[in-house]
């Protein structure tokens, strides 16, 4: 099949295709209207590190892991339970919602590369879904605050034990200094020594601060490096930022270490100078510096304790609601665009499949050429479909002589004339494969078209089973052909006038029990010969070829026969059967006439013969 054939195939079945297509879309639309819409509410939360890490001034070793943990925590039953109770979520029976189901429905998604994550829920009630998401967010924050408070309390307890230890050391160094001062009534401490001691104390405390700073920087760097290694395979954009940070830290650390070394050298130098002091002064200096050092450490801890207590009292949470859920405007399900797209796709597929299926099972003729291909007979004419042909006594060639249909009959007449070049056609059978293909219509119009050339034409109804030629002319069929054949009446007496000059009718007569025998009889042949002498042309209407043997018998007795092929009714199978049968008889027809060709151009087409009309069949042609 060529592309054009497919085009015509679809054009021919455009209604089936359209119906399937529209049905699919309709089904989708009905479903869309009836489907319960599902709404989705979303809130955004920000997580900024674990509480204790920020208090203890140490960077978290793995922030991503922390976020993941927080996200998983949201999906737990205790949180869901808190939400159920907070919103008093009860079902129709008055029972609380199953927190497992609620927890399972919560959607938590991280926004990559940030510390923000999304909290969402789907439900058919848009107000409720918003409340649920917001309740979740609030419960999460509250719980987090609670957890943090516990962490702070733990930290306070830890710092307090440290302070106890440090306080001991400090008091001991204080005691030692006091004891020394008691033992020695007067210590003549030179001005230089005092300066030296003061410097030593200052340097050592600074060194302690530096050491802790270095420790923090190192921890940060280790954490960053770990992250870089973890994320390196996904090539995240923030890796370069981390690498930058590591570089900064490295530079900072170098500076810090240099300062530390400098301080240590200074301290060594001071200690060296102090060691050169007299023993008493030396001891004094040592005691003072030790006491000051312990004092400094204790003070640091006390400051940290105060800070932590403030945090605890402030109930600081490490999770914050960045964006609470707002009531969704449109449902996420069903997605109108997706459903429509699905409907269109399904419609196209269903329509296409239906057309192909129908085409596969359709025995109807697809083109004018197909008749030629199957039968290999000559085409004598193409008679367009006559929409007004309802009245039995209607002859289009007489009623509308200028219509294209009448012109087709004239063409048929002339074609028959020139087809039989060897012998003059004086008797002609008009038949068809099946009943109802338009034998009688074609025959009577052909007869009329012949008669107007001045030929004396006889229409002879040899369809002895279902005769109807007489009806075309409003004649009686009480006596006719069968009457003559059984010898009850003379031939001259049964030939009737039609009111049309040159056109006569011999009706079938009473229906006999044995039509085939009558047609095969010698008497029939003799009668036919006699009629051929009296008339210029005898046209015989026969029963359908496939129904009974009558037609086949007639073929042998006449000068020629033609097949009427109703392009709408004849099936390919039937035409093939007829064609094969005729081939066996070795008595080919003069040709065939296509009948009932729809004026709609797309319905039938031929590669070599394309039928077309400018005007409607009844309008006055311009000549």
């Amino acid at each position: 099949m060529e592309i054009l054939d497919y085009y015509y195939m679809f054009l021919r079945r455009k209604w089936v295709f359209g119906l399937a297509f529209v049905s699919c879309i309709l089904i989708m639309l009905i479903w869309l209207v009836n489907a319960t819409p599902i709404f989705k509410a979303e809130a955004k939360l920000l997580f900024h590190g674990s509480a204790i890490a920020s208090i203890m001034n140490i960077s978290s070793t793995d922030a991503t892991a922390d976020i993941s943990t927080q996200m998983e925590l949201i999906k737990t039953r205790p949180i869901a339970k808190a939400v159920v109770h907070k919103l008093k979520l009860v079902d129709e029976a008055g029972n609380f919602w199953d927190e497992g189901g609620l927890a399972g429905g919560v959607i938590v998604e991280a926004v990559r590369g940030t510390s923000i994550f999304m909290l969402a829920y789907r439900h058919k009630n848009r107000k409720l879904v918003t409340d649920i998401v917001n309740a979740f967010a609030q419960v999460v924050v509250e719980q987090n605050r609670e957890v943090n408070r516990e962490e702070y309390q733990l930290a306070i307890r830890f710092i307090e034990t440290q302070i106890e230890k440090r306080r001991d050391g400090f008091e001991r160094s204080q005691q030692k200094l006091l004891d020394f001062l008691k033992r020695e009534d007067s210590v003549a401490v030179s001005k230089e020594t005092e300066i030296l001691v003061a410097r030593l104390v200052s340097f050592t405390t600074t060194e302690v601060d530096l050491a802790s700073e270095i420790e923090v920087a190192n921890a940060k760097m280790v954490a960053l490096n770990k992250k870089i290694i973890q994320m390196s395979n996904i090539n995240a954009p923030f890796i370069s930022q981390w690498k930058n940070e590591v570089n900064q830290l490295n530079i900072g650390l170098t500076g810090l270490n240099a300062r530390k070394t400098f301080l240590q050298n200074e301290i060594l130098e001071i200690k060296n100078e102090i060691s050169k002091l007299p023993p008493k002064e030396l001891l004094y200096a040592q005691l003072v510096s030790e006491s000051n050092f312990e004092n400094k450490l204790l003070n640091n801890l006390l400051i940290k304790l105060e800070e932590t207590k403030i945090f605890e009292a402030a109930k600081i949470a490490s999770i914050r609601i960045v964006e609470p859920a707002i009531m969704p405007k449109s449902p996420v399900f069903p997605n109108k665009k997706k459903v429509l797209l699905l409907g269109i796709t399904m419609g196209l597929m269903a329509g296409g499949a239906l057309v192909l299926l129908l085409e596969y099972f359709d025995q109807g003729l697809r083109s004018l050429d197909e008749v030629k291909e199957i039968t290999n007979w000559a085409r004598l004419g193409v008679i367009p479909k006559d929409k007004d042909d309802q009245d039995f006594e209607y002859l289009i060639t007489k009623a509308h002589p200028k219509s294209p249909i009448s012109e087709s009959y004239r063409g048929l007449r002339t074609n028959i004339h020139y087809t039989a070049v060897d012998k003059e056609i004086k008797s002609l059978v008009v038949t068809s494969s099946a009943p109802g293909e338009g034998k009688t219509t074609v025959m009577t119009n052909l007869a009329f078209t012949q008669s107007i050339l001045g030929k004396k034409v006889l229409l002879m109804d040899v369809d002895l089973r279902k005769p109807k030629t007489h009806k075309k002319f409003g004649l009686k069929n009480t006596v006719g052909l069968t009457s003559v054949l059984v010898g009850s009446i003379d031939l001259e007496k049964v030939i009737q006038e039609t009111g049309i000059p040159n056109l006569f009718v011999l009706t079938a007569g009473p229906i006999p029990p044995n039509p085939a025998e009558l047609i095969e009889s010698k008497k029939f042949s003799e009668m036919l010969e006699q009629l051929k002498k009296e008339f210029d042309l005898v046209l015989l209407d026969s029963p359908p070829f496939q129904a009974v043997t009558d037609a086949a018998i007639l073929f042998k007795k006449v000068d020629g026969y033609i097949f009427v092929v109703d392009i709408e009714k004849t099936t390919r199978d039937l035409l093939k059967q007829t064609s094969d049968h005729i081939k066996q008889m070795n008595l080919p027809p003069l040709g065939y006439v296509i009948n009932n060709l729809a004026l709609d151009k797309n319905k039938y087409y031929g590669k070599t013969y394309y039928y077309h009309y400018d005007y409607n069949s009844k309008s006055k042609p311009k000549r």
Binding site: P401, K402, P404, E407, R410, G411, R413, T414, N415, H417, Y418, I452, L453, G454, Y609, Y611, H612, Y613, D614, K620, P621, K622, R623
Partner: protein, 225 residues
């Protein structure tokens, strides 16, 4: 100018209905500058049963009227014969108006059935040369210029309707007409005037378009048979 294809004769085909129509058409011819018109009514069995005698008679009647009205137009009896199996016999019996051994004929518009060749052959046998009327209007020939050339080589002459160039008979006819005109294949151009509704302006427009396409010599194609 001379028109060899005209349905000016009243009451014998689908052209002029009454004598008044014929006179109006004659005036149109006069205004357009025609001096001679070949009256060529349809000849088609049963529908337009016209023959030489009838045409000659009607032609004389109209000529008389025109002379009275002082319209200077010479009428010649001619015909446009529909090609069917009866035509060769009529030619043989000299029942059709043949002028200078030529006969104006037409076939079906929708197709060019093979039997036409046989009829044309049968006409030529009697030493009559067929002029195929408005050839550009035939649906099969429109698309088949080679076939038209073949017909001409086979001894047929071809006539075109000047109104085809305006699209009066459709786009395909227009296209075919222009191609034939440019290729200088037309033996005759004519009006094929059916009634007075086809007015002076339409023919002038058509003439102007034709002149634009091939020049002044287009007038020479409105010539004697």
């Amino acid at each position: 100018m001379i028109d060899i294809h005209s349905h000016i004769l009243y009451g014998i085909d689908d052209g002029a209905e009454a004598i008044g129509d014929s006179v109006k058409m004659a005036v149109i011819y006069e205004v357009l500058g025609f001096k001679k018109v070949y009256c060529s009514p349809h000849v088609m069995n049963f529908y337009y049963e016209n023959d030489l005698n009838k045409v000659v008679q009607r032609c004389a009647e109209l000529q008389e009227v025109l002379n009275k009205e002082k319209i200077e137009l010479e009428l010649i009896p001619f015909a446009e014969v529909y090609l069917d199996e009866s035509v060769p016999a009529k030619v043989a019996q000299k029942k059709l108006p043949v002028i200078n051994g030529k006969l104006l004929v037409e076939g079906p518009l929708n197709e060019w059935p093979p039997y036409l060749e046989e009829i044309l052959f049968a006409i030529k046998i009697y030493n009559v040369c067929p002029i195929i009327a408005h050839i550009e209007r035939n649906r099969d020939l429109q698309k088949n210029l080679a076939k038209i050339r073949q017909l001409k080589e086979g001894g047929c002459l071809i006539q075109g309707n000047i109104l085809s160039i305006t699209g009066y008979y459709g786009a395909s006819a227009k296209r075919c007409f222009e191609e034939l005109l440019k290729a200088d294949l037309y033996d005759f151009l004519a009006t094929d005037m059916h009634n007075a509704e086809n007015n002076v302006a339409m023919y002038r427009e058509a003439m102007d378009k034709a002149k634009k396409l091939v020049g002044e010599q287009v007038k020479a194609l409105f010539k004697e048979v």
